[in-house]
Amino acid sequence: MAKQNTAVKNKSISYARWGYIFIIPFFIVYAIFTLYPQILTVYNSFFEYYRDGLTVVGPRFVGLQNYKTLFEPGAAGYVPIFKYLGNTVWLWLLGAVPQFLIAMMLALFFTSTRLNIKGQQFFKSVIYMPNLIMASCFAMLFFSLFSQVGPVNQFLVSSGAISTPINFLGMQVTVQTLIALMNFLMWFGNTTILLMAGIQGIDESMFESARLDGSTSTQVFFNITMPLLMPIFIYVFITSMIGGIQMFDVPQVLTNGKGIPNNTSTTLIMYLNQFLGISKNYGMAGAVSVLLFIVTAILSIFVFRTIRADNK
């Protein structure tokens, strides 16, 4: 019966190699189309390398010169990168604060068994909808609607509220408000849905026992809901911040890439985009990208912390 009696080395029914086979396409593509360009980005940041008209300057190793330039005041008297980072954070905050307040409120409405909101599916569908709209198109729409000859001004003038059209796209306050409004509209539905899921993930009996213990709904919110929701809230908040740092389409199209007026709505990525345009300033663009990477990396560490804490 025993045809072979020699001891055999047992190797081949291990499936480990299949694991590698299944993940290899991902890593090949990642290495070529993402990792290598990323390394190149960092590499570029140490070189003078740009296009001036038809001539290409560089690449010439300049060490940290690009970073120095990045933190030097420009012709207008301010350090562009600080200003644009500031703009980005400010524009994000303008949209994010109402976004989180309203989303939190809606999430509580939707999950309240006492209120028992009807038509939830409809409301959720409507408030999530702007998230899927092409951001560049959304911005173009706002530009058209709020232009000096656009319907909003037409309405305001014809209703007698104002006598001359408002230059919405010429003033810092209105431009920033419009950008914040668009960001708010695009993201508050998404945030609502995520926070709702977080609240629904909390054991219902917690609320019930708190209520039977005599807590008011405000007390339930601060003593039960918020503490238990915290990890998810922080997760959603920081991912929103990471998204905010990357804000581009809306201000770019709304201000035609100029960040009007006076670069008060120019974001970090718009700045990066300027270097990547005709000038192809890979050196400076690289330096901006590295900065962007560092900022998001720091934020991401917070995300991972909260995820880990949540998993415990």
């Binding site: 025993a2 055999v8 081949s12 029914i13």
Partner: protein
């Protein structure tokens, strides 16, 4: 239709590579996968030894049951036979061929999983036909085989349903059907009944016995339930902590447990154990406990004599049904009496330990809580275990 020979099979899980197997169903399995957590498995430099020194010759068409508590290595052994788990050492032969490195698909085995593992997106028919389709069996032949198997298992009317639309028992049948359509050389079953409720389990157990008579194949069946083992197996392999404890027919294992563990594991209610003394008087062996001294049966005398067993302190094991109420003997207090139809179970405290005694109802004098009674037993049902290593002194 094949012999299966396991020679000194061993399984080591390297420490560095923690098994990460999570499934919705595999709760039982997860436990088995991480044996080192709850059990006393040997840990060597190589890792955790889940199975070792496993040698067994399984005859053609034999029904073998691997039984033991969770983490004993029974499922791991089965999975090694299936080819789902690498064999760390030893040799495995199916039908005379060494198959250690052969992939499961080339071993000609089938397996029924505890979770059934039915493909949710396929109908019952397609589930059963899948393995044949892969082998490119002609369509009409597939059809014939699937319908035959469905007939045997009484699931013909569900062939067009998806698994979701079936009850637990029906899914179980489909899982078995999927295994038998292929006429495998060996049919492996991994706790196939433990996801069913008690009533269905009894029914399916009978079905498996019927099935076994209808199809000609070798069965290897894993369970933690000793009743299943006793009723199904031609031979039972009792395992604990990665080692085989005993191999034998159900009767052998029941009548002659090779050690304290097997004695306690097989048989329900559990065997009672007492501290006693094995005495040798005039060349005859006696067990002495309290004020009685019971002479062992001739058979036992012979075996003990052959082994030259000396006088010593022992653990005495007597099954509940082998104890009788008597005037003298082991003294104990009745805690609870349970009337079980034809017999009566007395839950007792004997020498500060729990024990159960089964007495016939007729002979049962009005027993009540707190009453003190005496028990004895005859010499042919006393099991004598060494105090040192818990093995049965007869063997």
């Amino acid at each position: 239709m094949a012999e299966v020979i396991l020679k000194n099979i061993k399984k080591v899980y390297p420490n560095s590579e923690p098994k990460e197997k999570k499934g919705l169903f595999g709760k039982k399995k997860t436990e088995e996968e991480k044996p080192h957590r709850t059990h006393h498995l040997q840990i060597t430099d190589e890792g955790v030894v889940a199975v070792q020194e496993f040698s067994l010759d399984i005859k053609d068409k034999e029904f073998i049951v691997l039984v033991g508590p969770s983490g004993c290595g029974k499922s791991t052994t089965l999975r090694m036979v299936a080819g789902l788990e690498e064999i760390s050492g030893g040799e495995l032969y199916i039908d005379g061929n060494l198959v250690n490195s052969v992939e499961p698909k080339d071993r000609d085995i089938a397996m029924v999983f505890q979770s059934y593992a039915l493909y949710p997106h396929m109908t019952v028919y397609d589930n059963m036909a899948y393995s044949l389709k892969i082998k490119n069996v002609p369509k009409d032949q597939i059809d014939k085989k699937v319908r035959e198997a469905a007939e045997i298992l009484d699931i013909s009317q569900y062939l067009n349903r998806k698994p979701k639309a079936l009850s637990g028992g029906q899914r179980q049948r489909v899982a078995i059907g999927r295994a038998i359509v292929r006429d495998p050389k060996v049919l492996l079953m991994d706790e196939p009944l433990s996801n069913l409720d008690a009533k269905l389990r009894n029914q399916m157990r009978a079905e498996i016995i019927k099935l076994r008579n209808r199809i000609n194949t070798t069965f290897i069946y894993v369970t933690h339930d000793q009743t299943e083992a006793m009723t199904l197996g031609d031979r039972i392999v009792v395992m604990k902590d990665g080692f085989i404890q005993q191999i034998g027919t159900p009767q052998e294992v029941f009548d002659h447990p090779s050690n304290l563990f097997v004695a306690g594991f097989i048989g329900t209610p559990q065997m009672n154990f007492f501290d006693a003394r094995l005495a040798l008087k005039n060349g005859e062996y006696y067990v002495e406990i309290d004020d009685i001294s019971v002479k062992l049966s001739e058979e036992k005398q012979k075996r003990l004599r052959e082994k030259g067993v000396k006088e010593q302190e022992v653990t005495l094991g007597v099954r509940p049904e082998h104890m009788n109420i008597s005037d003298k003997g082991i003294e104990g207090r009745i805690d609870v009496t349970e009337l079980m139809g034809s017999s009566c179970h007395l839950h007792m405290t004997i020498k500060d330990k729990d024990a159960i005694v089964i007495v016939p109802r007729e002979g049962n004098i009005e027993n009540h809580m707190g009453q003190k009674i005496h028990l004895d037993f005859s010499g042919n049902v006393a099991h004598i275990f060494s105090k040192e290593d818990n093995h049965n002194l007869e063997y």
